[in-house]
Each structure stands twice: as structure tokens, then as C-alpha cells.
């Protein structure tokens, strides 16, 4: 009992210290900020590799420490950061996409991929991204298919990696 308590306190403390001192912008689930981001609010230094690192390590420590926290919101934030890293990747062909509306399309794609890997549900992830974008004037319905493709790649990619790791058949369970 004492060992479990010590382990959980250590993990939770490590996650909290990492968030406070390295990446304060990683605090919280990130979903309210994503709604703001999709509707034109620019939050400084919120979609950066440092925040990605703190979010990934912090959520992992919190879940391993048996805290009652979900991975859905953080995974949406993680997906958005990865999408923005691709958006600003030093690839010459992608330079033409760097506009305000495309920025939000990429963030929406990251959200749908993150939620779909959390639940194993690409359609659910796509609809979640649409739900967050509902008041957005930048959402176009052509974007739904691209989001669904992105969410499907993420879900099947994760299922494939897990199947290869454990040597089991591919399943889409969360």
C-alpha cells in the first residue's frame, strides 16, 4: 500500500514539476484552447515542441501513477502540435500552405487524429474536430474527407505498431 502511494506521488510530482518549470502551457487538457485556436485566437508558444514533450511525458507519468486522468484531451493537443510541426516543416512543397485558414485546417486534422487514436474511432475523431470548429468561419466541408483520412492513418498506424510489438492480430480497440 505504501509502495503504491509512494509510486503514485512520485509520478504525479514529476509530471507536475515538469509542467510548472518546463512547459506551463501544457497544463490542462487543451481542448478549450483548441476551440479558441480554431476560431482565430493565437496563443503564444502553445503549439511548440517543448509543450509536446511536456505533454507526452506528463500524461504518461500521470497515467502510470494511477491518477484519474484521461488521454483524450491531451492527445488532441498533442495531435495539434504534431500537425503544426508538419505545417512548419522545412519542406519546400508545404510552404504554399502557410496561410491562416490552412493553419486551422492542420490543427483540425491533428485534433481528429489525436482523438481517433485515443478511442480507436476515426469517424468519431473527425466529428469531434468538426464539433470544435463549429463556430469557425474557416471550416470547409472539403476538409472533412482530409481529416477523416488523417484520422484513419493515425488509427490504423497505431493498431499496426501495437500489433507488431505484441505479435497479435490488428484490432482497432482503444
Amino acid at each position: 500500500m505504501a509502495f503504491y502511494l509512494l509510486f503514485s506521488v512520485t509520478m504525479a510530482s514529476a509530471a507536475a514539476l515538469l509542467t510548472v518549470y518546463v512547459g506551463p502551457k501544457a497544463a490542462g487538457s487543451g481542448v478549450p484552447e483548441l476551440i479558441g485556436c480554431l476560431n482565430g485566437v493565437r496563443i503564444a508558444e502553445w503549439l511548440t515542441p517543448t509543450v509536446l514533450f511536456v505533454k507526452v511525458v506528463g500524461v504518461t507519468l500521470a497515467v502510470a501513477g494511477s491518477l484519474v486522468v484521461g488521454k483524450e484531451g491531451p492527445l488532441a493537443h498533442i495531435g495539434a502540435i504534431i500537425a503544426i510541426m508538419v505545417f512548419f516543416a522545412p519542406i519546400e512543397s508545404f510552404a504554399q500552405f502557410r496561410t491562416g485558414s490552412r493553419y486551422r485546417e492542420f490543427v483540425a486534422a491533428g485534433i481528429s487524429a489525436g482523438v481517433s487514436v485515443a478511442f480507436g474511432a476515426p469517424i468519431g475523431g473527425t466529428l469531434f474536430a468538426y464539433e470544435l470548429s463549429t463556430p469557425s468561419t474557416f471550416w470547409t466541408f472539403k476538409n472533412i474527407w482530409r481529416n477523416f483520412f488523417c484520422a484513419s492513418i493515425a488509427t490504423f498506424g497505431l493498431a499496426l505498431l501495437v500489433a507488431l510489438q505484441y505479435g497479435t492480430p490488428i484490432t482497432l480497440s482503444a
Partner: protein, 86 residues
């Protein structure tokens, strides 16, 4: 008889819908515009990269969680075998 011309500064009400009208004009254009095929392919490729990146990140998180939970289980088992729970 026509109304007399007002004297002094003239005012008119603000067009509060100007901004949203402009945004919706752009949205309408975005809904209708057909991208060149090369641009579409690049976009779908970029979105595929996003999907792969998220899958790898989620897999690394699963690996790390499994590792930590295994360590926790092993240490607890060790303590139980040696007759103490810390």
C-alpha cells in the same frame, strides 16, 4: 417641399457586419474553389504525415506506460515475496 439640407458634421451608422461579410465572402470562395491536382496531392500527403506522427507519438506513450506499470508490478511482487509491503 424638399427637406432642408442638414448643416454641420454628417454621421452615418457603422456597418457592424462588414468584417463577418468579408470573412464569409472568403469562405464562400474557399468552398467553391477547386485546387490544382498537385496542391491536393501535397495536402493529402501532409495530412498523412500528421496521421503517422500522431500514431507514433501515441505508440511511444503506450510503450512508456507499459514500461512504468511493469516496473511497478515487479517491485510490488518483489516486496510481497520478501514479506514486506514497504
Amino acid at each position: 417641399m424638399p427637406a432642408p439640407k442638414p448643416t454641420g458634421p454628417q454621421f452615418q451608422s457603422e456597418d457592424y457586419n462588414a468584417t463577418s461579410a468579408k470573412v464569409y465572402e472568403q469562405l464562400d470562395y474557399q468552398q467553391r474553389v477547386k485546387e490544382p491536382r498537385r496542391t491536393e496531392i501535397k495536402l493529402w500527403l501532409a495530412f498523412m504525415l500528421v496521421g503517422l506522427g500522431v500514431a507514433v507519438a501515441a505508440w511511444l506513450m503506450i510503450l512508456a506506460e507499459d514500461f512504468l506499470i511493469t516496473i511497478k508490478g515487479n517491485v510490488f511482487q518483489y516486496l510481497t515475496v520478501y514479506g514486506t509491503t514497504f
